[in-house]
C-alpha cells in the first residue's frame, strides 16, 4: 500500500440542523483529506462540529442530529453521500469503523463481549459462528498483551486467566480500559482502511489513555489503516497525529502537519490553545487564557467567528465584517485568518 495515496477526502461539507429558532450550521465548508496509513486529528472545543463530521462520514447522523446540506465525501473513488443505505452497510464496520467516547455505554450490556466482536466478524468475513468466536478470542488476546512488551508476553494479571475468559465476560464485568479494548477489537476485527476514533480516551484514566493510544498506534502499523482522531486533547494530538485540523465554531480554522502547527501556529485561536497548555520545556508564571466563550451556534458573530475573542481581530473592521476562508499559505499549511503570514499574497 502506497503511503501517500489519499484514502478519504471530504470536500466542502455543510451540515446543519433545524430547530424551532431556525437552522443551525453545525459544519460549514469543511474540506480535508486523509492519507493512507496516517493519522489525521480533528481538534476543537465541544460543540464545534468535530463529532458531526465523524458521524457524517459514517452516514450515522440521525434525524435530530443534523442533515448534510451539500458536499462530497470521497472514499475509495466513490461518494459516500450518494450510496444507498445497503451499500453503506457494507462499508460500515468493514472498511470504515468507529470507536466511541464512552466504552461502557457503547457495548451492549446483554451480550458477551466475545459475541459482539464475533458478530462483526461473521457479518463481514462470512465466517461461521465457531470460527468467528475463535477469531474474537485471538484478537482480544492480542490487544490485552501489554503494548510495552513487544515480545508478546502477556501481563501477569492476564496470563492467570483461562483462554477466552475475556470473551465470555459481559461488558459490566470489565474495566473501562478493557471495555475500550473490546471496542477497538470490534472496530479493528475486519482490518478497516479507516478507523474513526471519536474521543477514544476521554472517559479513561491518564495511564490507560496511553495504553489505548499506543494500542491504536500499533494496530495502525500492523494493519496499515488510517485513523481519524477526533479529540479536544492537544496532548494526545501532539503524540499521535500526523496532520492536524483545528476547528472553531463549525469551521476548520487551521490545518497543518503536526510539527509545523505546534512549532509555529498561524491562527490566533491555535496560538491561544497552545499557550493555555502547561508545558514542561517553557517556564511560565501563569498560563494564558482565551477570553470569552464559544459563541452559540444560533448567534454566530458576523465576519470571522473568532474576532470577539481575538487579540488582533476584536478591533479590526475587516475581521468583524468579512469572514476569511481557508487558504493555503505555505505548501501543506492552511489557515483562515486575515493576519496569518502570507495569507493575502496568494
Amino acid at each position: 500500500m502506497k503511503q501517500d495515496e489519499i484514502l478519504l477526502s471530504v470536500r466542502k461539507l455543510h451540515v446543519s440542523f433545524s430547530t424551532e429558532d431556525g437552522g443551525i450550521k453545525a459544519v460549514q465548508d469543511v474540506s480535508f483529506s486523509i492519507r493512507k496509513g496516517r493519522t489525521f486529528a480533528l481538534v476543537g472545543e465541544s460543540g464545534c462540529g468535530k463529532t458531526t463530521i465523524a458521524l457524517s462520514i459514517m452516514r450515522l447522523l440521525q434525524a435530530g442530529q443534523g442533515k448534510i446540506i451539500s458536499g462530497e465525501i470521497i472514499f475509495d473513488n466513490q461518494d459516500l453521500l450518494k450510496l444507498s443505505e445497503k451499500q453503506m452497510r457494507r462499508i460500515r464496520g468493514n472498511k470504515i469503523t468507529m470507536i466511541f467516547q464512552e466504552p461502557m455505554t457503547s457495548l451492549n450490556p446483554v451480550h458477551k463481549v466475545g459475541n459482539q466482536i464475533a458478530e462483526a466478524i461473521r457479518l463481514h468475513q462470512n465466517k461461521n459462528a465457531k470460527q468467528a468466536w475463535a477469531d474474537a478470542v485471538e484478537i482480544l488476546r492480542k490487544l490485552v498483551v501489554s503494548p510495552s512488551n513487544q515480545a508478546g508476553v502477556a501481563e501477569p494479571e492476564h496470563t492467570a486467566l483461562p483462554k477466552g475468559i475475556l470473551c465470555s465476560a459481559y461488558p459490566h464485568q470489565l474495566s473501562g480500559g478493557m471495555q475500550q479494548r473490546v471496542m477497538i477489537a470490534m472496530a479493528a476485527s475486519c482490518k478497516p482502511a479507516l478507523l474513526i476514533a471519536d474521543e477514544p480516551t476521554t472517559a479513561l484514566d491518564a495511564t490507560i489513555q496511553v495504553q489505548i493510544l499506543n494500542l491504536l498506534d500499533r494496530l495502525q502499523k500492523e494493519i496499515g489503516m488510517s485513523i481519524l482522531l477526533v479529540t479536544h486533547d492537544l496532548g494526545v494530538v501532539s503524540e499521535y497525529a500526523d496532520v492536524v485540523a483545528v476547528m472553531y465554531a463549525s469551521r476548520i480554522v487551521e490545518k497543518a502537519p503536526k510539527g509545523q502547527l505546534f512549532a509555529e501556529p498561524f491562527h490566533p485561536y491555535t496560538r491561544g490553545l497552545l499557550q493555555s497548555l502547561p508545558r514542561l520545556d517553557v517556564s511560565a508564571k501563569r498560563l494564558e487564557v482565551i477570553p470569552g466563550t464559544v459563541p452559540e451556534p444560533l448567534y454566530f458573530p458576523a465576519g470571522c467567528k473568532f474576532h470577539p475573542r481575538c487579540p488582533i481581530g476584536h478591533k479590526d473592521k475587516r475581521c468583524r465584517t468579512v469572514e476569511p476562508e481557508l487558504r493555503e499559505v505555505q505548501p501543506g499549511r492552511y489557515v483562515a485568518c486575515w493576519y496569518a503570514p502570507g495569507y493575502e499574497k496568494r
Binding site: 452497510r89 457494507r90 466511541f100 457503547s106 451492549n108 450490556p109 459481559y170 464485568q173
Partner: protein
C-alpha cells in the same frame, strides 16, 4: 495448614471463573427474597406439570391390562396427537428454562446462548406438531375396561390415579356431591369433577400461553417499528393503538366468538389479537429510550442489518417489562377464557374448561350445586392469583430503582 491454604486457593481460582452475577441471577435472587413469590412460582410449575401429564393422572383407560392372557397398553394407545404435541412443547420449554442436560452443554468459554435458540425451539415445536398430526393416528377405543375388570374378563389392570375419563357420561351417578368415589363430586352428565378440573387446566394454561404468545409477538413487532423509527410512523401507529385500546375488549371478544364456531383455537387467537396493545406500548417506550443509546449507534456503525439491530441488540434490553406484562396477560387470558365459558361462548362441552364447570353450578332445576361452583372457582382464583403474584414479583425484581435495596 497447608492443605487448608491449598483448598482456599482452589476456591479462589474457582471463583475467578465467575465474575459477578448475571442479570438473570440478580433478578432471581431478588425474586426469591419473598417466600410468597416462591410459593406461587411453585404452584405455577405444579399446574404446568399437572396440565402436561393430565392423561397419566386422570384417565379411564388403564396403563396395563391383561385380556385373555395378552398384555395391552390402552392408555398409551389412546394418547391423542395433541397430547404428543404438548409433551414435545413441554420438553422444549423445560430445555429453555433449565438449560440442556449437562451432557449436551458446551464447555466453558464456548459459544453463545443467543436468541436463535428460541427460533430453533419454535421451529422444532411447529414442525414436530405437523409431523405428529400427520403420522400419529387418532385412535380411540370405546371399550369400558372397568366393566371388563368387574366382570372378570380382564385381570392385572393398573389404572391411573383418578380412573375416570373427562368425557365420561354416566347419567346414573350425575350431580353427586363429593364422596369417596368422586372426591369432588360429579357434574350434570356424571363426569368426575376432579378429572375435568385436571384436564381443564390444559385448556386454561394453553389458552393463557398461546394467547399471550400471540399478543407478545404482535406487540413486539409493532412496538419495535414504532419506537425505532419514530416520527410520523410512530404518530399514526400510536393513534391506531389508542383506537384499539378504546374498544372494550371483553365485549368485542363475546361478539366475535358469537360469529365464529366455538373452538379452542379461535378463542386463543381472538384473545391474542386483541391484547397486544399494552405490549406494543411497553416495547415502543423502551425502543424510544434505547435507540439513542451509544451501543445502538455502535451496532449501526458496525454495519449490522436492521433486523439484528432491532431484535438482537435492542430487544433483549427492552424485553423485561413485556415479560412482566406477559405474566399478567396469562392470568387475564385465563380469566377471560373462564368468563367466556361461563357465559357459554367458550369451548364446546365435551372439552373440559373451568369456567364451563362453574356455569353448571346452578342447574336447570334451580338447585345450587356447591361443589360445581366452589372447586373450579378456587382453581381459577388460585391460578390467577399465582400468576399475578409471580408477575408482581418479577416486576419488582427487574425494577432498577429497587436494585440498590436488594
Amino acid at each position: 495448614m497447608r492443605g487448608a491454604k491449598n483448598k482456599k486457593q482452589k476456591e479462589q481460582s474457582h471463583e475467578r471463573k465467575r465474575v459477578g452475577l448475571s442479570y438473570g441471577e440478580l433478578v432471581w435472587r431478588r425474586f426469591t427474597k419473598s417466600r410468597l413469590n416462591l410459593v406461587c412460582l411453585i404452584f405455577v410449575l405444579f399446574l404446568f406439570l399437572l396440565a402436561v401429564f393430565a392423561p397419566f393422572i386422570a384417565n379411564d383407560k388403564p396403563f396395563v391390562i391383561r385380556i385373555d392372557g395378552k398384555l395391552y397398553f390402552p392408555l398409551l394407545r389412546n394418547l391423542q396427537p395433541s397430547d404428543y404435541c404438548i409433551f414435545l412443547a413441554a420438553v422444549v420449554v423445560l430445555w429453555h428454562a433449565v438449560g440442556p442436560p449437562s451432557c449436551f452443554r458446551k464447555k466453558a468459554g464456548g459459544l453463545h446462548r443467543n436468541t436463535s435458540g428460541l427460533g430453533l425451539s419454535v421451529a422444532i415445536v411447529s414442525v414436530g406438531a405437523v409431523l405428529i398430526f400427520v403420522f400419529v393416528p387418532r385412535r380411540f377405543d370405546a371399550v369400558d375396561y372397568k366393566e371388563m375388570v368387574d366382570s372378570g374378563k380382564a385381570t392385572g389392570a393398573i389404572f391411573a390415579f383418578i380412573p375416570y375419563g373427562y368425557a365420561r357420561t354416566e347419567l346414573a351417578s350425575h350431580r353427586q356431591p363429593p364422596s369417596s368415589r368422586h372426591w369432588l363430586g360429579t357434574d350434570d352428565v356424571g363426569a368426575d369433577v376432579l378429572c375435568r378440573l385436571i384436564h381443564g387446566s390444559r385448556i386454561s394454561l394453553s389458552i393463557g400461553f398461546v394467547a399471550v404468545g400471540i399478543s407478545v409477538v404482535i406487540g413486539i413487532l409493532v412496538g419495535a417499528i414504532l419506537g425505532y423509527f419514530g416520527g410520523w410512523i410512530d404518530f399514526i401507529g400510536m393513534r391506531f393503538v389508542e383506537i384499539m385500546m378504546a374498544i372494550p375488549v371483553f365485549f368485542l371478544i363475546i361478539t366475535i366468538t358469537a360469529f365464529f364456531p366455538r373452538s379452542f383455537l379461535n378463542i386463543m387467537i381472538i384473545i391474542g389479537v386483541t391484547g397486544w396493545t399494552s405490549n406494543a406500548r411497553f416495547i415502543r417506550a423502551e425502543f424510544f429510550k434505547l435507540r439513542k443509546q451509544d451501543f445502538v449507534q455502535a451496532a449501526v456503525s458496525l454495519g449490522l442489518p436492521l433486523r439484528s439491530i432491532l431484535f438482537r441488540h435492542i430487544l433483549p434490553n427492552a424485553v423485561a417489562p413485556v415479560l412482566v406484562n406477559a405474566t399478567f396477560g396469562i392470568s387475564s387470558a385465563i380469566f377471560i377464557e373462564a368468563a367466556l365459558s361461563f357465559l357459554g361462548f367458550g369451548v364446546a362441552p365435551p372439552t373440559p374448561s373451568w369456567g364451563q364447570i362453574l356455569s353448571l353450578g346452578v342447574s336447570a332445576s334451580g338447585r345450587f350445586l356447591w361443589w360445581l361452583t366452589l372447586f373450579p372457582g378456587l382453581a381459577i382464583f388460585f391460578t390467577v392469583m399465582a400468576y399475578n403474584v409471580v408477575g408482581e414479583g418479577l416486576r419488582d425484581a427487574t425494577d432498577p430503582r429497587l436494585s440498590k435495596a436488594a
